[in-house]
């Protein structure tokens, strides 16, 4: 599997061709459709991420020393952004996830979505993904 760094650079390369925001959003809409469907039993309040204006559900499983994320949202652009996060972070070791510097967000112009405002909740999303990694790391630790 490609390194975390490399995947981010791929994403940046994909976005760099768009100089119009509508194209970027259209691409995110495309990506949202490619996000694996989350198991319906995780689409409950227990898996919802607080602090988003849209509903965001997130689950993480531990499989062969890797954290595997699945997620969904009722807002499409949010879902598109989530699909990027999953693409970058899923199926990696807890350590890798914890240490991940998600520079692609800024690079593709989504930084404002990382603000602590609760409108979008991308920040809450990233936080929650890292929390899962920390938890699994504590549980199964040492790589």
């Amino acid at each position: 599997m490609a390194a975390l760094q490399q995947v981010q650079e791929e994403i940046i390369a994909e976005f760099v061709v768009f100089d119009d925001w509508m194209d970027r959003y259209n691409y995110l809409i495309e990506l949202s459709k490619q996000l694996d469907i989350i198991d319906p039993r995780y689409k409950t309040n227990d898996y919802i991420i607080k602090g988003c204006q849209s509903k965001v559900w997130l689950n993480a499983e531990y499989n062969e020393n890797k954290v595997v994320y699945s997620a969904d949202s009722d807002a499409i652009i949010t879902k598109g952004i989530i699909s990027l996060l999953v693409r970058v972070l899923s199926k990696r070791s807890p350590k890798e996830i914890i240490d991940a510097d998600l520079f692609f967000i800024d690079a593709i112009g989504l930084r404002e979505n990382l603000s602590p405002t609760r409108a979008n909740g991308l920040l809450a999303m990233v936080k929650q993904m890292k929390l899962y990694a920390i938890a699994y790391n504590a549980k199964f630790g040492n790589r």
């Binding site: 509508m22 809409i29 204006q53 849209s54 509903k55 807002a75 652009i77 979008n120």
Partner: protein, 412 residues
Amino acid sequence: MAANHLNMFDVKKIRDDFPILNQQVNKKPLVYFDNGATTQKPSSVANEVLAYYLNKNSNIHRGVHYLSAQATLDYENARETVRSFINAKNSDEIIFTSGATSSLNLLAFSFGEKFISPGDEIIVTEMEHHANIVPWQMLCGRKNAKLKVIPFDNNGLLLLERLPELISEKTRLISVIHTSNVLGTVNPIKEIINTARRHNIAVCVDAAQSVQHLPIDVQELDCDFLVFSGHKVYGPTGIGVIYGKEKWLEQLPPWQGGGDMVDEVSFDKTTYNQLPFKFEAGTTNYIGAAGLAKALEYLSNTGLDKIHRYEQSLTEYAMKKFKEIDGLNVFGNVSGKACIFSFIIDGVHPLDTGMVLDKMGIAVRTGTHCAQPVMQHFGVDGMVRASLAFYNTTEEIDYLCQGIDQVKKMFL
């Protein structure tokens, strides 16, 4: 007729007074449709605040020195400007707070301490902003009182015929939103006040979304209390107002304790200052008050009547346009509604709508608009809200309609 008022109002000239409007956002001309959240400020307000920073600043009251005496005069003149703006009987009835929310919290505390006993009842409406719900819920929790609710119908019309059955011997206060920040409905507060009068019940009007849109005369209305925020009437942040009839304010205990609201302080006994100071603890936002006065003067000079007529024309224009758009649900269509339009495009999440409009330079708000009961009424999680002001134009409404089409193209 609508077109007539649209033409009679020189909105180009008005826009020159609001420099912030003349900018690009996301490389598109800014269309500021978030006036329900906060309004932009005319130059006269900015200049006054700047004058404070550059040569007028000094704390007010009790100061013998020149700057302090001048600032005190400005502050008390600002109080007089507010009095005259809502036509209160005297300026002691005008209390400066930090915003409409603080005003309502002041009232809930002070009125609650004095007049609410276990079992007493307070009435609000189903379309209140959280600021006119939560303080009363907290009070009811503390005092074991009960909050009752006047419902509204799917058009956004208050079901006033329900009021008589909600009123009981235990009803102490009715606190009601004048203009809904979601539905735009202008509620018949005069009727509510008339009913309340017959039962000796006090009425508070939440005018946070109305004072900037239509002329208000508290004596004519005969309301007991009225609140609004500076930043929503083209003034500074951190300043607000509660008006109260003198006979009420005299009876209510103070809310916050501190400097200036006292007469004599000792560890044995403290006595309170006279009105309005009793309710203004500590250093008030005197720069904010001076700025607010400039904002209200700007409105008065422009003419609230003229503003109202122009905005009504914008409303008619927008509602007509919106009707032509397939799959657009506008919530609230009571006649005479304010230029506040909350909507959902069938099948598109409000957040997606808002994010796309933003990239087109259109500033709208999305979410629950601090009125979750309204969302619950319609069974939705959120709405998109375009809230206009008298510096907005029909061209901007046309552009919003294009934006909505663009959203539909992208998501449907």
